[in-house]
């Protein structure tokens, strides 16, 4: 941080130029063989007519794209996915940050905090199928949640959290928030460790209170991590499938139909693999926009 060292002189030999490639080589090898090849196949499928079922599929150009984009359910799925994802990411960030800040406090003994750390990470330890089954039990009309709310005098204890078209999206989002925040919490907790203590000292000397220190030191320091995580969480949450499928199956009616459930049904319920691939490519394109923005942002920051 102190004296700037002279920049490394330009000793650009062949080895030096190749060096970064050597470092990314294992990643590149894996990603090309196991990611880009299958993705290329999916993109290829999206221009064919009913691939897989059809032994000799024909090229149909953009027909599949037109069919998917004009399907009103696809529009509903985009809208639901946006609500679900935006609410989930925002809540993950807020809860994750709040928990990380509390766990990072020095006001309580390390053992107490260690215990809480263990508890706070719990929701993350379970596979999506179990999370879905568990919450179906909790939220069923005869479940614990209704019982407790009834006992406390809220509502009449017969709320259909998952089966009421007006409530289902909110309930599913809530479940996803519960199961996903520890990921933010852990990364932010790690990020908090990386903030040099002298920044806080300097702010204190300047007379900043805890709230100002939070806004002027903590947040700017965590910003790169927050942005990366928000982007990734956005992408991952938009593909959350198992949780939605196993709680509501996209219903009631189309209340929780997401891009992921929509695509799944095209592939494995209608066996329209070409249309499913098309939908996947459209999702890829939407995320690509996000990815480009993200890389731009990284670039601007450098």
């Amino acid at each position: 941080m102190s004296a700037t060292l002279p920049r490394t002189p330009r000793r650009i030999g062949a080895a030096r130029r190749l060096e970064p490639y050597a470092y990314v080589a294992p990643t590149a090898a894996l990603m090309i063989v196991l990611m880009l090849v299958p993705i290329a196949m999916v993109i290829g499928y999206s221009f064919l007519d009913n691939v897989i079922l059809n032994k000799d599929p024909e090229v149909v150009g953009l027909d599949n794209y037109i069919e998917v984009i004009t399907d009103p359910v696809f529009g509903t799925a985009i809208a639901n996915t946006l609500v679900f994802v935006t609410a989930s990411v925002a809540a993950h960030l807020l809860i994750g940050l709040a928990f990380a800040m509390m766990l990072n406090s020095r006001l309580l003994g390390p053992r107490v905090l260690a215990a809480f750390r263990g508890i706070f990470i719990l929701p993350w330890l379970f596979t999506a199928a179990i999370v879905a089954v568990l919450w179906r039990m909790l939220l069923s009309p005869n479940g614990v949640v209704n019982y407790l709310l009834g006992a406390l005098g809220f509502g009449d204890g017969t709320t259909e959290w998952l089966s009421d078209p007006g409530l289902a999206l909110g309930s599913v989002t809530f479940i996803n928030i519960w199961s996903g925040y520890p990921f933010f919490m852990i990364s932010l907790l790690a990020g908090l460790q990386g903030i040099p203590a002298d920044l806080y000292e300097a702010a204190k000397v300047d007379g900043a209170g805890p709230i100002q220190r939070f806004w002027n030191v903590t947040i700017p320091q965590l910003k790169p991590i927050i942005i990366s995580m928000a982007l990734l969480d956005f992408i991952w949450t938009s593909q959350q499938f198992a949780l939605i499928w196993m709680t509501t199956g996209g219903g009631p009616i189309v209340a929780t139909e997401m891009l992921s459930t929509y695509t799944y049904k095209l592939a494995f319920a209608k066996y329209e693999f070409a249309l499913a691939s098309t939908s996947a490519v459209l999702i890829l394109l939407l995320s690509m926009v996000l990815a480009v923005l993200y890389v731009r942002h990284q670039r601007a920051r450098d």
Binding site: L18, A22, I52, S140, N142, T247, I253, K270
Partner: protein, 429 residues
């Protein structure tokens, strides 16, 4: 400078070694295939039955088969029911479908169309297998693709305690009687509902078992004589209108729109619903979980005044042979073995199901009387499941389900509902 070069070289070497290791890892996988040097054959049998049956039961049947057919080894590949279809579909797409596959009637048409499963009619002819004892065969365009090994019928279950508490002394046999009984049970105010209707869109088979069954029980159909969709007919309309009237009466247990078959049976077992249409295979489960529950089974109520024979819905564990299998002869031997009278009796006994061989007689243990009663109902009526063998039949149920949910919610009228379904079904056929 020299040190820096060394460092770089180390980097390059290490990274190179790792890339190579990854490459080795990628190619090192085993690809042992069936068929060894000594002429022995291993056939793979993929199904979801093994985890459903008592521990080790299916394996021991396979052991008997291997003993009776020296030179053939059976490898059981077991997966969860909910994912079996995807697995088979993916396997078929890449030419690695197991030799013998467990099938659900809802998938047959799609796998047959994909060319994934073999035409059993010609295979049976080639191998000289006698099909005269098979209770049923599922055919697509005149050729058999699936043989139901065992069948699970879906009669009406009634909680007799709740029924008599509600002052109803007879198990309902008509729709009007059923509605009266359902209302009386709900009106007890004990928190119990008259009926339970699982409409989850994840597994929309409630449409087949719990909705369309009402139609079949009154001799109705949802198809034309040539097998085309005909959901706008008066029988289907009266069925959904009846379900709607039960819905409006408030006699259906809460949570319908996301409820699954597995939830339905828990509600009944806990005495929270008076009546349900359910798989016979649940009898033991209910008795085990709640020995104090008094219940009975009956035919599904028919329209008032209907006296024809009643269709009773069923689901099957079907079996098929992979079209790409190198060992179709051996695969068919396994099919033949499972369909033989004794083995089929044994299998239906442990599965709590009805046999797929007409000569087989299952021995039901506990709950014997109920099974025998069900068998009477089954024989006095006819097995009805019009979804079996239809293209994308699960999707057909889902489309019906979605529109039914709209109709029940009051978002559309019965005519709108049925004509929407008719259009979307016609598009799939």
């Amino acid at each position: 400078m020299s040190r820096s070069t060394r460092g770089r070289r180390t980097a390059l070497t290490a990274v190179g070694a790792m890339t190579a290791a990854a490459a080795v890892l990628m190619t090192a996988g085993c690809s042992a295939d069936s068929g060894d040097a000594d002429g022995d054959v291993t056939i793979e049998f993929a199904q979801w039955w093994e985890p459903e049956l008592p521990e080790g039961a299916l394996r021991s049947i396979m052991d008997d088969f291997e003993a009776a057919n020296p030179g053939i080894t059976v490898e059981l590949i077991s997966g969860p029911y909910a994912s079996t279809k995807e697995q088979l579909f993916a396997g078929a797409a890449s030419g690695t479908m197991p030799d013998v596959v467990g099938l659900d009637g809802a998938w047959v048409s799609d796998f047959a169309k994909q060319g994934a499963i073999a035409d059993l009619t010609s295979l049976m002819n080639e191998q000289g297998m006698d099909d005269s004892k098979l209770a049923s065969q599922i055919q697509i365009d005149g050729a058999t693709y699936m043989i139901p090994v065992v069948n699970f019928v879906y009669p009406l279950f009634v909680n007799t305690d709740l029924l008599s508490e509600a002052g109803i002394d007879q198990v309902p046999s008509t729709r009007t009687e059923f509605e009266t009984a359902a209302k009386a049970i709900t009106d007890l105010g004990s928190g119990a509902s008259g009926w339970v209707l699982p409409l989850s869109l994840e597994a929309p088979n409630g449409i087949q078992n719990d909705v369309m069954s009402w139609n079949w029980a009154s001799g109705g159909s949802m198809l034309t004589d040539s097998g085309q969709p005909d959901v706008t007919n008066a029988d289907v309309a009266s069925t959904v209108e009846y379900v709607k009237s039960l819905w409006d009466d408030g006699v259906i247990a809460a949570g319908s729109f996301t409820m699954k078959e597995q939830d339905k049976v828990e509600e009944f077992t806990n005495g929270r619903v008076g009546m349900m249409i359910d798989s016979l295979s649940h009898i033991n489960l209910i008795q085990e979980n709640n020995p104090d529950l008094n219940f009975d089974i009956a035919a599904i109520p028919a329209e008032d005044g209907y006296d024809g024979s009643r269709g009773i819905p069923y689901a099957s564990w079907g079996i098929g042979v992979a079209d790409g299998s190198d060992h179709q002869a051996e695969a068919l031997k396994l099919v033949e073995y499972l369909m033989s009278a004794d083995v089929n009796s044994e299998l239906s006994t442990i599965a709590n199901a009805f046999p797929g061989n007409v000569d087989s007689t299952p021995e039901f243990g506990d709950g014997k009387e109920l099974f025998e009663k069900a068998f009477e109902i089954y024989q006095s009526g006819y097995p009805a499941n019009e979804f079996t063998g239809l293209p994308v039949s699960e999707e057909l149920m889902r489309q019906f389900d979605t529109e039914l949910q709209k109709y029940l919610s009051g978002d559309e009228s019965v005519d709108e509902m049925l004509s929407t379904v008719q259009d979307s079904w016609t598009a799939e056929f």
